[in-house]
Symmetry: C2
């Protein structure tokens, strides 16, 4: 089977939500599975001096113009959630616990449900209860998951995944890596197959 493409994302990132669909579309075009890896992009942003699009008036105004039209172009629902950006620590822990204990397919289904709830329906998913409510709709056992999210091993795993992503050069969400080649943003993910073989 072809090497998976790595898809790094932060649950707090609206472009990460849109990019998750672009990464899956890229995986289909390339005939490769997509390895979803939830991270917190904050540490990389601090290192690179990046700022959330909502950090200043100018950036927030642009994001308000850009994200809904891009969602519309992609045929995805978008409702702006309150209090952007959330701290995405709990959804990330839930993701990795499910991945470790229920496998990558169940984790990807949870990630899709969390992204859809947060950016497709404008719900808050930051709190433990909010994350668990979405997990329940994805068919997961809420009591198991609540315990799992507070497991020190899972907390460590989330931290380690963030560190690994930094060693790979990831400083934005969404971010896709194909055979060591890096693609930051929905637009680059869409161009990835052409950029990998620009002479075709």
């Amino acid at each position: 089977m072809a090497e998976p493409i790595l898809f790094y994302f932060d649950f707090a990132s609206p472009y990460g939500y849109l990019g998750s669909h672009r990464a899956e579309a890229l995986g289909e075009r390339l005939g490769r599975p997509v390895d979803w890896r939830a991270i917190l992009i904050g540490p990389a942003m601090q290192m690179t001096g990046g700022r959330p699009l909502t950090a200043t008036t100018l950036r927030a105004d642009y994001a308000r113009e850009d994200i809904p039209r891009l969602a519309k172009l992609y045929g995805l629902p978008f409702v702006e959630p309150p209090n952007l950006p959330i701290l995405s620590l709990r959804p990330a822990r839930a993701y990795w616990w499910v991945r470790e204990h229920k496998g990558p397919d169940a984790a990807r289904d949870l990630a899709r449900a969390l992204f859809h709830s947060h950016f497709g329906e404008g719900m808050d998913i930051a709190g433990e209860d909010e994350t668990l409510a979405v997990a329940a709709t994805a068919g997961l056992d809420v009591d198991d998951l609540r315990a799992g999210m507070n497991d020190p091993a899972i907390k460590d795993l989330v931290k380690r995944e963030g560190e690994i992503s930094l060693t790979r050069g990831v400083f934005g969400s969404p971010w896709v890596i194909v055979d060591g080649h890096n693609f930051w943003g929905c637009d680059r993910i869409d161009l990835a197959d052409r950029l990998l073989a620009p002479d075709d």
Copy 2:
């Protein structure tokens, strides 16, 4: 005649160089003239907390991977100049003097020649002599232009253009405005006609 599309750029911006060609291609698709407006993006970056792509190792590594492949995809020459990013004050003053005194077509030709020299051939264009050398190849009178670049009215004009761009929300290069709609980056410029009419 259709309203021109506004194209804001910084001569120090490699994506601005690539984007100038994308803005012209967009103008052709929309059947509209392109109004090139040279600015210094520094003040907007300070306001928004943005950082040049070369500001940190992570960002510089990504830019080194991304810019050449994008140039190749677009069929444009790219040679990385030394000491990125330059202070683009002198090229911007030259641009606006030519625009005021020789008209927008001559100014656009100069801008193309400056971008090509800086990013297509990897030459430094920051200094007065370097800017004037490029202007000479674009058929401009070097003595007139040298005096013009030091004219206080031109210095004011460059400052004022930057201030106007901020009131329009511009905080990146390249940046295109079509009928009040904003498009930041080569990729958004390429999508602009689809984003303006996503239901077509």
